[in-house]
Amino acid sequence: MSLEDIIQETKTFYCLDCGKCTGLCPVSRYNPAYSPRVMLENALFGFQDDLTYNHDLFSCLTCYACSSKCPGDVDYPLFIQKARALALDAGQHGDCAHSGTVQSLARLMSNPGVSQNRLEWLSDGLRISTQSDTMFFVGCAPYFEHIFDFDSGAIDAVKASLKILNHCGIEPVVLPNERCCGHDMLWTGDVETFRRLAEHNAAIIKEAGVKKIIFSCPEGYRTFKEDYPKYVDIDCELQHISEFLADRIAENGLDFSEVKRKVTYHDPCRLGRHLGIYEQPRKVIAALPGIELVEMEHNKEESLCCGTSAFVNCDSCSKQIRVDRLLEAKATGADTLITSCPKCQIHFRCAMTNKGEEKGPDVEIEVMDLVNLVANALGDGHNE
């Protein structure tokens, strides 16, 4: 793909040079050198090297804060995604967080021969099947348990999701040979690895014969929904678990025990701005008796990113964004910060473990995935 192709695909030429993207960009506020607008403008005037050899190409969070409000409707995150592929062709990699472990893992998984022990987390109480029409896509949570030196909470969320599905009478298919969805590969420019992963997943899903896939990870959900169709066929209904829950609650209601919490909800970029899902998680929270939901200054469409995506380029700027977000959460007076993305949770928890070294402001707040909140409220009585 040439630079001109990228301009055409992302409609970069519609840029009004108005600067709204840059003004909205969470990165630009901390990194004055970083300007989405100038990045686009350079591309329009053919300065390709200024793009591919630019460290800041990897600073973008692809959070869509810019494009969702772009008056010219330029798809900047897509532009970045494609430009990173160009950069990779030129031998340029971004700095990846956690020493690139996540990326390496994904590349490893793209090798068809590799064998994994994917279901080791499955405990006795949780039921899965091989016959159901519904599949639950686990994603990378089983690996996250082992990568981070703090409790990522990722696998707990998977367990909670399964508990919820079971409670609703669903024993989903969970595939032992499922691979990383490829999200991080795609967004770091490694299209080839992404394609291999997509093809693998498409094949095993087809083989499983399921009709519907439920995700608790917004990245997997987005990738299946928006990116897979360009490479593979997935002939299934796709749903995020918050959508699933909102539907269930609207249809029959669910019997919840009281939740004495004051919570605030953090919209993950992939679920929110990428896919427009703002109301369902809030409806789910509102359905919990006794709970109080307070909104942060930036919520829904204006929600702030957690500061890192695709485990790329996690620097001081990312940390600052994260701290700001946690401070916003604390400012609401909530005792719990709810999110529905395992990665948001990881990044927030990471920020809190780091706080000692930086002697920054107190950002300690309980962070919990929406599914954990719901699963807890379902109580033991319902959990056979």
């Binding site: 030429f13 519609y14 040079d17 607008r37 100038v38 403008e41 350079n42 329009l44 005037f45």
Partner: protein, 555 residues
């Protein structure tokens, strides 16, 4: 005449007056003036509420003079005079005192001084009002004919509209051919129609219209008369012809500035948009690396205005080049893009989609043109770009014709500072001149695109049709009158009157001057020059002015 009973209505004009001077105090003061029997303040005297207060005041206090102290008589006098008339008071017994443009708006930080000045002006107004006399309206017939100056799209459109309603039209064009600026254009934005296809049928329609007579190659030599009765002397082919007409429409257009000395303009490699139009029309554009520089000669200290049409012209021509050769690189160097409205903004978007690139430059760091290239600092990118070019096109502003000033003088209408014609009111009377019976449309007034020009031309036709269909117009009764007992028939007034509206006639007392009312425009030169002080200007007579002076001076 019975006792003088003056009512004074002092207007707050919202806060326009009330915010800067003490209106109630001024009204209170007015009440103390000689002959003033009633005074009140109103929030907006010109509102329905204010007007009915005037009516009530006249009725309840048996007023026989009304003073409104508010804004300028130049806009609101007719309204208040009408209200007086409706209340049975002769409108000439109304006096206007301007305490807004003359006081509150120009002495904003001097409340006391402004209040005092308002009192003084009202005192003078009351002094004059006491001496006002009722006048009867004067009506004159309108010659049922329109004369249009300029045969471009504006003039042609106006001519057709007026003729279609059923009036004779005389169309004067200084060039040999009709069509104006459009004759030099290739295609029009945003419709992409060929200019020729637009103008030619209209020229045909005008040529074939039984009610329209065209004077090609002709100029206006002189204009005399007044609304309804203009005599326009047309010079063509060395011959002169006088046309009697009721109304005159100025549709003389404008011309493209030739950018001599700007950006290495040479008419070859560096050309104007209109020169490019010609090349495009002839299919003679082979350039594939084109830079267009906007605001060439516009929005600079010596010509501050934005010519409104050049951005779209440039974009349209850029699109034409790009359509002709899709591989062409076209850059548009701009300062602020004027793609206002719906279609132009869409056109801009389309041009970007086609690959035309926009570069913003600033006046302090303008592009430089050299052989084969343009160097420009892209303000928004923060870097200098070296554009290789084989053609540079300058978008230059439309400027008034050099003879506009002369025509303005003949018509006795004003020009604004850039020498475009100045309308009666920039907001609400865009197609009228302050002089009755003369109208304007199109680029003569300001650079306008074709759509706007047509709208204005139709609009000017409407304005001109008012006196034409009415058949007569009212003349302000500000005319001179001669005291036949004092007059000695010296003829000085006849000599000085610019309108030949006063002349010496034999009478049984000997030669005496008298006024030709329909021709008199009320300037008062006769009155100030009469050796015998025998001439009175109605509504501006010596006694009234002297009373005003005395009242202003009284402390």
């Amino acid at each position: 005449m019975s006792e003088v009973r003056i009512g004074v209505f002092v207007c707050h004009c919202g806060s326009n007056i009330g915010g800067w001077l003490d209106v109630p105090e001024v009204a209170e003061y007015a009440r103390s003036l000689p002959n003033v029997v009633f005074a009140q303040d109103n929030l907006y005297t010109c509102s329905e509420a204010g007007l009915s207060q005037i009516k009530n005041g006249i009725k309840e206090h048996n007023l026989n003079r009304v003073i409104v102290a508010s804004c300028t008589p130049r806009t609101h006098e007719p309204l208040f005079k009408r209200v007086c008339q409706e209340s049975g008071l002769n409108p000439s017994l109304f006096e206007f005192v301007n305490i807004r443009e003359q006081c509150s708006w120009v002495h904003m930080q001097q409340r006391e001084a402004a209040t005092q000045k308002a009192k003084d002006l009202i005192r003078a107004g009351a002094a004059k009002a006491s001496l006002l006399e009722p006048q009867e309206d004067i009506y004159v017939d309108v010659e049922p004919r329109a004369l249009i100056i300029g045969g471009g799209i504006a003039g042609l459109t106006t001519a057709l509209t007026i003729a279609n309603v059923g009036f004779d039209v005389k169309l004067v064009e200084k060039e040999k051919e009709l069509g104006g600026l459009l004759r030099h254009l290739y295609k029009l934005y945003p419709s992409n129609e060929e200019a020729a296809a637009v103008i030619t049928p209209r020229i045909e329609a005008v040529r074939n219209h039984p009610r329209i007579e065209v004077f090609n190659d002709s100029t206006v030599r002189d204009v005399r008369g007044f609304v309804g009765n203009y005599d326009v002397i047309i010079a063509s082919d060395g011959k002169e012809e006088t046309i009697k007409t009721g109304v005159i429409i100025v549709a003389t257009g404008a011309e493209e500035l030739k950018p001599q000395g700007l950006y290495s303009y040479d008419g070859q490699k560096v050309i104007t948009q209109m020169e490019l139009e010609q090349l495009l029309a002839d299919g003679n554009v082979s350039a594939t690396k084109v830079a267009m520089i906007l605001c060439a000669g516009a929005r600079i200290p010596e010509r501050t205005y934005c010519s409104r049409t050049c951005c779209m012209t440039a974009i349209k021509n850029a699109v034409l080049i790009k359509k002709q050769s899709p591989e062409a690189q076209v850059y548009i160097l701009y300062r602020d893009l004027q793609t206002y409205g719906t279609e132009y903004e869409e056109y801009l978007r389309m041009s970007k989609e086609m690959g035309i690139r926009y570069i913003k430059y600033s006046l302090s760091n303008p592009p430089t043109v050299s052989d084969g290239g343009v160097k420009v600092y892209h303000e928004l990118l923060g870097r200098e770009l070296n554009l290789e070019t084989d053609l540079v096109v300058l978008a230059t502003p439309l400027v008034p014709h050099s003879d506009a000033k002369e025509l303005a003088k003949k018509l006795k209408v004003p020009l604004e500072q850039n020498k475009f014609f100045l309308e009666a009111h920039v907001k609400l009377r865009p197609l009228d001149f302050a002089t009755d019976g003369i109208y304007l449309c199109g680029c003569a007034s300001w650079p306008t695109d074709v759509e706007q020009t047509i709208a204005q031309a139709l609009g000017a036709a409407s304005r001109a049709l008012i006196p034409l269909t009415k058949g007569q117009v009212k003349v302000e009764p500000i005319v001179s009158s001669v005291d036949q007992d004092k007059c000695i028939g010296c003829g000085i007034c006849e000599y000085l009157c610019p309108y030949k509206a006063i002349a010496v006639f034999p009478t049984d007392k000997g030669d005496r001057a008298s006024t030709i009312v329909a021709s008199c425009k009320g300037c008062g030169v006769c009155s100030s020059h009469c050796p015998m002080m025998a001439i009175t200007m109605q509504n501006f007579n010596d006694d009234q002015i002297t009373a005003q002076i005395a009242a202003l001076a009284a402390v």
